[in-house]
């Protein structure tokens, strides 16, 4: 019992450690604005005497026909894909394993183990691509990487130690799965999982500090010379916490989508009902994880963009109102596809649940609202037109549709999509249950009214946004988000209470899913992956011609901001490389379960030895 208490204590402590870098510290933001960051850091003067090098085009080594920026870009993106995947997998494997303990449902433990199994090769590939990225940076951008590493020198050793720790614990965690399966030993295994996550998150947080410094540098003067020896000042740059938060959530969504695709493929190639049931359930669980993480992701994105604006309006406007604005329309298209795909999968899933037919008539309305919101989200404000087109619509803006291109409309559309995706999930989870409590009627009315009021409030705030100045427009998005979140929270709580001792209308028939539904899982995986590449480009691209924003200039021949077509080709290249390597990971995991039949002579020899005995 004492042992269990100790393990629980360690678990809580590790969780606490993990949460610290995810908590936004608003007072830091004020200190760290561009133009104030340098002078606001009240630290002892630095003893360091170096500045950011002022480079010329000739200072960048060229490797024959290799295009430097594209090489680093693809290497970084593929490494990030794998990094995100192997950081996400232990997070939800741990959660699934924990669920297995609390629900005593062995399926959770099996799925968690299987996910770890198929991810093991990905750990090696993460290290390999990380090595390639380091090599590319050292070879092609030596002065820049030297400067960055001089600033962050003390963190590098922690990065390496965390990496070694991650490798050791990862293998221990995986290979001890069966040895530490039940009782107190299971709790030790769970602690190993948490330790694995602690190392993984440490790696993420350190790498985010480097990336964040490139975006929003603090603790250095205008020439890039450190003004403090306190490494924490560089780490806690304004971008750090929002980036940690955004990547933490996005990684989970991404990891869930990739595992979902694996389950979808296994489902399609399964031949027995048992296998189909198993991979159907795995696909549902992975999709649930991906969507649960996707829903708060736009809000984390808001925090990230708000921090960018707070640090540098110039950078914020470059992202949202300049040449990157079109990419947000592309982003909207992808997010719309993801939402529609996820909803479609849920609606198909309702086909395997007895009692779900009650909700079938509602689905077409949900679909209609989501499609409408999707269309609003992807409507641009200004588009480049030919003179004839301009003449036809009477100006550079479409009178009717261009108002849908600004933030109040986008916020309303995003919240509506999230709200109605939640509704799909909500109907799915209660599909085969019939509440027996006496206040069902009243409770249902309360839920419907609450949902309707929240949606009306979201739309009202969206319209209100058109009538007030920009500052209020931005502030109006907060109550919109709160409306969405409160609906999700309150309806779930009420529903859980209402369905205590509920009557079951029939079992969920796992495995009875149409093959078509599984393609929604592939759509999600591809969309998430490509979207990550695109958003990664936007995040990095808004620095424009700076290695370290406004501190160290990129003087290489590649310092220009490429056209959209160029950027998406690189994103697609990185996505294809990642997909091919992921298929390799899954194939190799599958290979480990294949046993060759003994050759006749070996089988014969073995048989005769048996007879001799």
């Amino acid at each position: 019992m004492r042992k269990k208490g100790l393990v629980t204590g360690v678990l809580i402590f590790l969780i606490f450690l993990l949460l610290i870098p995810l908590i936004p510290l608003s007072n830091e933001t004020v200190l760290a604005q561009e133009g104030h960051s340098v002078t606001s850091v009240e630290e002892a003067p630095s003893k360091a005497t170096f500045e950011a090098p002022k480079l010329k085009p000739g200072d960048y080594p060229q490797l024959g026909w290799v295009k430097s920026r594209e090489a680093v870009w693809v290497a970084a993106q593929v490494h990030l894909f794998f990094g995100a995947f192997v950081l996400a997998v232990p997070i939800f494997v741990l959660v699934i394993e924990g669920l297995g303990i609390f629900t005593k449902d062995e399926r959770y433990d099996h799925i968690a183990h299987e996910i770890m199994k198929v991810s093991m090769t990905a750990f090696s590939l993460t290290a390999l691509t990380g090595g390639l990225l380091t090599f590319a940076l050292l070879t092609l951008y030596p002065d820049f990487i030297k400067y960055l590493m001089r600033i962050f020198q003390p963190t590098v050793i922690f990065y390496i130690l965390a990496f070694i720790g991650e490798a050791i614990v990862c293998y221990t965690y995986y290979y001890s799965w069966d040895a530490l399966r039940y009782g107190t030993k299971k709790w030790i295994h769970l602690t190993l999982g948490l330790l694995l996550n602690t190392f993984g998150m440490t790696i993420l947080f350190i790498a985010d500090a480097w990336t964040g410094f490139m975006m929003t540098p603090v603790g250095v003067d205008a020439a890039g010379a450190p003004i403090t020896d306190n490494i924490w000042v560089f780490i806690r740059n304004p971008f750090w916490i929002p980036l940690n938060l955004h990547r933490f959530i996005a990684n989970i969504a991404f990891g869930g989508a990739i595992v979902g695709a694996y389950a979808g493929y296994k489902f399609l190639s399964s031949t027995t009902p048992e296998e189909k049931a198993r991979y159907d359930w795995m696909g549902y669980t992975s999709n649930f994880i991906a969507i649960a993480a996707l829903l708060p992701l736009p809000f984390a994105g808001y925090i990230l963009m708000a921090e960018i604006y707070a640090y540098s309006q110039q950078m914020g406007i470059t992202a949202m109102g300049g040449i990157f604005a079109w990419l947000f329309i592309v982003q909207a298209t992808l997010i719309g596809s993801v939402f529609l795909g996820a909803n479609y999968y849920l609606w198909c899933g309702m086909g395997r649940i007895s009692g779900a037919e009650r909700y079938t008539p509602v689905i077409k309305y949900i679909a209609g609202v989501i499609v409408l919101a999707f269309l609003v989200w992807l409507t641009p404000h200004t588009i480049v037109m030919t003179a004839i087109e301009m003449k036809k619509i009477g100006g550079s803006h479409a009178a009717l549709l261009s108002p849908l291109g600004i933030m109040p409309a986008k916020n309303t559309a995003a919240n509506t999509m999230i709200l109605f995706t939640f509704l799909s999930f909500f109907l799915y989870r209660r599909a085969n249950k019939m509440p027996t409590v006496g206040w069902v009627g009243a409770g249902t009315v309360v839920m419907k009214v609450f949902f309707a009021v929240a949606w009306v409030n979201i739309i009202f705030l969206g319209i209100y946004g058109y009538l007030v100045p920009t500052a209020f427009k931005v502030r109006a998005s907060v109550p919109q988000v709160l409306s969405t979140l409160s609906v999700a929270l309150i309806l779930l709580i009420l529903d859980v209470i209402m369905h205590r001792k509920a009557r079951t209308l029939g079992p969920i028939q796992w495995g009875k899913m149409s093959p078509r539904s599984q393609y929604a899982l592939f759509l999600l995986a591809i969309s998430f992956t490509w979207l990550m590449a695109l958003m990664g480009y936007i995040r990095s691209g808004i620095r424009q011609h700076w290695h370290v924003y406004t501190i160290m200039r990129d003087a290489s021949p590649d310092a220009y901001t490429p056209p959209i077509g160029h950027a998406v080709l690189v994103a697609t290249t990185a996505t294809v490389i990642f997909m091919v390597l992921v298929i390799f990971c899954f194939w190799i995991a599958q290979l480990s379960t294949v046993k060759q039949e003994p050759l006749p002579e070996i089988a014969g020899a073995s048989g005769s030895r048996e007879e001799e005995r």
């Binding site: 604005q33 133009g35 309006q313 110039q314 500052a471 220009y560 998406v568 294809v576």
Partner: protein, 282 residues
């Protein structure tokens, strides 16, 4: 294997759609500002023009003052009558800066934006003691800041108190007095270079010129079509007029989007080369 092929084909189709759709959108490559810009002696008018370009975000690497100081957006105070407003700000009891004159106030506002924050425009929670304005000196050189001051002082009829670069202060990037000095940018040597340098391809098309804009008239055969535009005017004269005074004649059905002042930016040699090339485009 059949399932595997189906999944791969499906994935390839999705990826293709995602890749092709953005390729149909406007493609714009954004160049960084030159590493070492060399500026020679400038007339006051040219100096103020540069200030206007800075204000409107037409110089590379900087989005322009108007991005925030736009009266419609109200992100930052509107910049009207700044020749007088700058003097008034110095008399504000909240002013604690070091400037003694309007010109110094404007420079201080750009170099040290938090020295004085206009009421209601400070960072949230700072009680108007911290300005959200970016550190302009990271984007603009001292002579460019002076050009912006000159524009702000002149735009509503005030007297300009800053002096343009004279060309006597030295060469290269030396920041002596009002500005840096040296040779003007190298002139375009070919019509193609000319089109690139002045961004004609953003709107116009000319097959031999290597530009393919779609917002303004196609110039591929302007040598023949130009002769018919204005009665009694040759193609050469029409082209000359269109560059120097674009609003003199708007081609029917085309929007009046050509910015004025192109002629002031180019050298006489560049101008004549472009006119000759276009007049021969038949």
């Amino acid at each position: 294997m059949k399932t595997f092929i189906k999944v791969i084909v499906f994935s390839a189709v999705i990826l293709s759609v995602y890749t092709i759709f953005p390729m149909t959108l406007p493609q714009q490559r954004s160049e960084p500002p030159p590493l070492e810009e060399k500026v020679g002696a400038l007339t006051m008018d040219k100096f103020i023009d540069i200030g206007k370009d800075i204000f409107e975000g037409k110089r590379g690497g900087f989005g322009g003052c108007i991005l925030c100081h736009d009266p419609k957006l109200r992100r930052a105070p509107e910049l009207v009558n700044m020749h007088a407003t700058s003097e008034d700000r110095l008399k504000d009891p909240r002013y604690k800066g070091k400037a003694k004159k309007g010109e110094e106030y404007l420079r201080e506002s750009m170099m040290e934006p938090s020295a004085f924050v206009v009421a209601g425009f400070g960072v949230a929670g700072s009680n108007d003691t911290k300005s959200p304005m970016l550190e302009i000196k990271k984007y603009l050189k001292p002579w460019e800041i002076n050009a912006a001051i000159a524009f702000l002082q002149s735009k509503d009829g005030g007297e300009v108190t800053v002096q343009p670069p004279t060309g006597d202060e030295g060469g290269g990037e030396k920041e002596a007095g009002a500005g840096a000095v040296a040779a003007p940018p190298a002139p375009a040597r070919t019509p193609q270079e000319f089109f690139q340098k002045y961004g004609c391809g953003a709107c116009h098309k000319h097959e031999k010129g290597g530009i393919a804009g779609a917002l303004a008239p196609d110039l591929t055969h302007i040598g023949s079509s130009g002769a018919k535009r204005r009665p009694g005017m040759s193609a050469r004269d029409y082209i000359r007029e269109s560059i120097l005074n674009p609003t003199a004649f708007i081609v029917p059905g085309m929007p009046p989007i050509m910015p004025p002042g192109f002629g002031d930016r180019m050298t006489a040699g560049e101008f004549e080369m472009a006119v000759a090339f276009l007049a021969d485009s038949k």
